[in-house]
Point group: C2
Chain length 152, copies 2
């Protein structure tokens, strides 16, 4: 099993970072604008990605496994690209040195495929978007996200 892990510090209270990770409105502000569903344990959140013309180019359905206020959010991927199904994504928060540290993990990849390298880079770009949203009030969610390669 392989994992993607990232660490980023946000100059804001953990409660602000948690809101961006645990509400539909928050998630739509940094990952993809087309975020729907219910952000509660046992429920599912749907993330869809569209090209500039509005055509759907991909998406994920996540089951919320854990939402601990100001502390942790954890999802399991229910549908999406084959490589993602069954993988788990988590965000752990800790206030330190005047910032909130976000420890991100996307675990249980069956193989370290090239698509995983793409996703690792893309997650980094979206975590910068999360930081911009929480610190400045505006992120760069899809479809206005930073493109990184020929896969988007």
């Amino acid at each position: 099993m392989s994992s993607i892990v990232h660490r980023i510090g946000i100059h804001a209270p953990a409660s602000s970072a948690y809101r961006a990770l645990s509400t539909i409105e928050g998630l739509a502000g940094w990952w993809t604008r087309d975020t729907t569903g219910t952000a509660s344990v046992g429920e599912c959140i749907n993330f869809k990605f569209r090209d500039p013309a509005g055509k759907e180019i991909g998406g994920f359905e996540m089951e919320v496994l854990e939402q601990s206020p100001d502390d942790k959010v954890r999802w399991k991927v229910r549908s999406g690209p084959a490589e993602w199904i069954g993988t788990q994504i988590s965000f752990s928060l800790a206030e330190q040195d005047g910032m909130t540290l976000v420890l991100f993990a996307h675990r249980e990849w069956r193989e370290e495929v090239e698509f995983m390298a793409h996703c690792s880079m893309k997650w980094a770009v979206f975590l910068l978007s999360l930081r911009d949203l929480v610190e400045r009030g505006a992120g760069q969610p899809a479809p206005d996200d930073v493109k990184i390669d020929n896969w988007n």
Copy 2:
């Protein structure tokens, strides 16, 4: 053993990306301005990092294991933080869809420590700097790099 892997596309020929990865001047343009040594197989390159006041805050010595023009660069870490010693770093290039894809890997981490998550995020930021250098002529090497958390 754990790995960091990233994938980024650069709108430029592989030869331009290779130059930024295989020469002291190129490396100083996107990773750290304080890059010295000899970028040849069997030789070592020294990367030092300084704070804005010029004080050294860290560094790495890499032995060059491989330099295949327009194709691959591979290093082994000889000195630096304990977690990095003995790890290997590689950049594999491939032209595709009008861009050069860089497949980055930092392998042989003994444990998936929190510092690895920091380094994964930091490598992503430096790969964006590499892209800026190759595409636009200017990257954001240390000490002018994008800071990501309380560890820099």
